[in-house]
């Protein structure tokens, strides 16, 4: 088992005819992901290295049975593409695009919640989802990860690679790695993904990698205390970040007295979640728990 993407994933890539879209769609296919379609308005009928391109998500779903979308189009078009995928009945939408305006994200989130409650959006501004040995949707460099029992959920891409690699060096693999993205309005929260890992029989331990900004980590701490029986190891990046500065991710900002790293670490630890102070410590703690 794993979460979100696996051997049943039938992927449709929005923006497949773009340079980055083609590169990563083909990368995902080489990994074994079933890439069944692409969508680029005006390029319907063409193909990208054998993958048929459609003008609309609706026709792509009808013709190929696509059940998962990867959104790779530039920010001005990304919200529209996510809404189109949901409208076509796609169940899992993974949005890689960085730089989508926050008010667009707000409209998308609330519309999906009201009109498409069964649709799950991962991202935007995320590296995607990798279920080692099964499927890779997004830009996660799969070669650093192997199959295993650690579920990882993170707001950051490269930090996830760092932690995953440290686990791999200690001999541990992953059930799934889920990047929820660094934007102010992620489609899925830590809670959503931790709930999936809790239900996933293959996942024995959950690593959650958070960062400054917002209160998703504090909310996750409450959820973990009440609903999660599996061990969770935490990490929070941005302890040294000054208030009022956006640290690369649009969502990574300490505003006034809210969103600071210390409060997040305290919230998690007060609910019994062990928090590593460095990525290396996170891996050490995870290994210690798994070997117990």
């Amino acid at each position: 088992m794993s979460v979100l993407v696996d051997k049943n994933t039938k992927l449709c890539v929005s923006g497949i005819t773009g340079r980055e879209g083609t590169f990563h769609a083909m990368n995902n296919r080489r990994y074994g992901t079933d890439v069944v379609a692409g969508v680029t308005p005006g390029k319907g009928g063409q193909d990208v290295e054998g993958v048929p391109v459609f003008n609309t998500f609706r026709s792509a779903v009808e013709e190929t049975g696509a059940n998962t979308a990867m959104v790779f189009v530039p920010p001005p078009f990304a919200a529209d593409s996510i809404l189109e995928a949901a409208d076509a009945g796609i169940g899992t939408i993974i949005a890689i695009t960085e730089g989508i305006p926050a008010h667009d994200e707000l409209r998308v989130f609330n519309h999906l919640k009201q009109a498409h409650p069964g649709t799950r959006l991962i991202g935007p501004n995320c590296p995607g989802v990798l279920s080692p040995g099964k499927a890779n949707v997004g830009i996660i460099p799969a070669s650093f990860f192997k199959e295993g029992n650690v579920g990882v959920v993170s707001r950051s891409g490269t930090l996830t690679y760092q932690i995953g690699n440290e686990l791999a060096q200690r001999g541990f693999g992953n059930s799934s790695i889920v990047g929820i993205g660094g934007d102010p309005v992620p489609g899925s929260s830590f809670i959503d993904i931790i709930a999936l890992f809790q239900e996933d029989p293959e996942t024995e331990l959950i690593v959650m990698s958070g960062e400054i900004g917002g209160s998703a980590e504090e909310e996750a701490a409450e959820f973990i205390a009440e609903h999660v029986t599996k061990p969770v190891v935490g990490y929070i990046a941005g302890v040294t970040a000054p208030p009022g500065k956006t640290m690369g991710h649009a969502g990574a900002i300490v505003s006034g007295s809210s969103g600071g790293a210390a409060a997040k670490i305290e919230a998690l630890e007060s609910k019994g979640v062990r928090v590593g102070r460095t990525p290396t410590q996170v891996a050490d703690i995870a290994v210690e728990i798994l070997q117990d």
């Binding site: 690679y161 690369g248 102070r277």
Partner: protein
């Protein structure tokens, strides 16, 4: 992106939020001429992106042209908590009867705009919230529905505002919400929102933060960027499309990916070092971007050592290595570098660095080792 008070007021005015009239000025003569057009008494207000202007002497009332000159001379060029005043806003004086507070924040947790209104204005709202949370009326607005007239009335009544301002404040909040949505703000704050002695209401201050990701469709707002107030290295980085935040330490940091860079700062601090900057070279950085980034980092004279922490995904370590070699060819840095390359094409990257035999460049294999090494070298 944060706006100056007067830029925020001009933005409000475009959406019908009532504000006092005024003019910006960058020189003393301009300020005096503006004051004469506005009439006396006239308020001289320092325009800086930091609070506490009044206490610092950055807001003064002038009763005639001589006083306007005197105040403008004192305020222009003044330092307010590290921010130099390059501009003043000359504004008509307001006869204030009462001071309230209003704001709209982008509530990430609720995934909806949150409107706040309080009868207690003119002071720090976080203090009010702590002392008397009941004094602040709160309302989440469904972004798909938008702000309705009854929302304004409900807030005004719940904030216990006097009967005569219920409607005007409600109307002002509706226009403020229009501005928040139309300009794609992350925050609009009016503190104080005043009732004048003639019974009208106005936004006497304006704090506006716009979404940087939405500026591409608001060219008029992009032009409001306060270049003069920007740190020189931060401006240099922005012009080169690099994500850079200046910090007050002495260890220059470059990494790829915001989370990894934040984590690198923390790990350096964990081992006793002080980062001089945050620099995310981004995913898929090419050699030229790396060379450019080194220039930005070294433009900060405080930097005594530099740490490269790369975990290549889309970013290729050979590109990073080539960029560093090119940077050494061009600028011959005088400070030591510690370089940790892991991930995509890491072996090739390390080979390039070894063959180039750059002076004072130290390789490290793990993030922790790299951090410890650079902290030692910066001592």
């Amino acid at each position: 992106m944060d706006l100056l008070e007067y830029q925020g007021k001009q933005l409000f005015a475009r959406h019908g939020v009532p504000v006092p009239s005024g003019e910006p000025a960058t020189t003393v003569d301009e300020a005096v001429a503006a004051a004469e057009r506005i009439g006396f008494p006239c308020v001289v207000k320092a325009q800086v992106l930091i609070g506490g202007r009044g206490k610092a002497g950055g807001i003064k009332i002038a009763k005639d042209a001589a006083e306007a000159r005197q105040h403008a001379e004192a305020i222009l060029g003044m330092d307010i908590r590290g921010h130099t005043v390059h501009e003043v806003w000359m504004e008509e004086a307001s006869d204030i009867a009462e001071e309230y507070y209003a704001s709209i924040v982008f509530d990430r947790s609720a995934k909806a705009p949150l409107v706040l209104l309080s009868k207690e204005g003119g002071m720090d709202i976080e203090e009010v919230a702590e002392r008397d949370p009941g004094a602040i009326a709160r309302l989440h607005v469904d972004p798909l529905l938008g702000f309705q007239a009854f929302h304004g009335r409900r807030l005004a009544y719940e904030a216990n505002l006097p009967a005569d301002v219920i409607r005007p404040v409600g109307a002002l909040l509706q226009k403020l919400y229009e501005a928040f949505v139309a300009e794609e703000a992350m925050l609009v704050e009016v503190n104080p929102l005043v009732k004048l002695t003639d019974g009208s209401v106005k936004a006497l201050d304006a704090k506006v933060t716009l979404d940087g990701n939405a500026l591409y469709r608001h060219k008029e707002n992009e032009a409001l960027r306060n270049v003069g107030a920007e740190d020189p290295q931060e401006r240099m980085a922005r012009e080169r499309d690099l994500t850079y935040v200046k910090l007050d330490g002495d260890i220059g940091i470059l990494g790829n990916g915001a989370g990894l860079v934040m984590s690198t700062l923390d790990v350096v601090a964990h081992y006793g070092g002080k980062p001089a900057n945050f620099l995310d070279a981004g995913g898929g950085s090419k050699a030229e971007a790396i060379t450019s980034a080194v220039e930005v980092i070294l433009a900060n004279p405080n930097v005594k050592a530099v740490l490269f922490n790369i975990f290549g995904g889309i970013t290729r370590c050979d590109e990073v290595a080539n960029g560093l070699v090119e940077a050494f060819n061009q600028i011959k840095p005088s400070v030591p570098f510690v370089v940790r390359l892991d991930g995509t094409n890491d072996k090739e990257g390390r080979r390039i660095l070894q063959e180039a035999a750059l002076p004072n460049v130290h390789a490290a294999t793990t993030m922790d080792e790299a951090a410890q090494k650079v902290v030692e070298l910066a001592r």
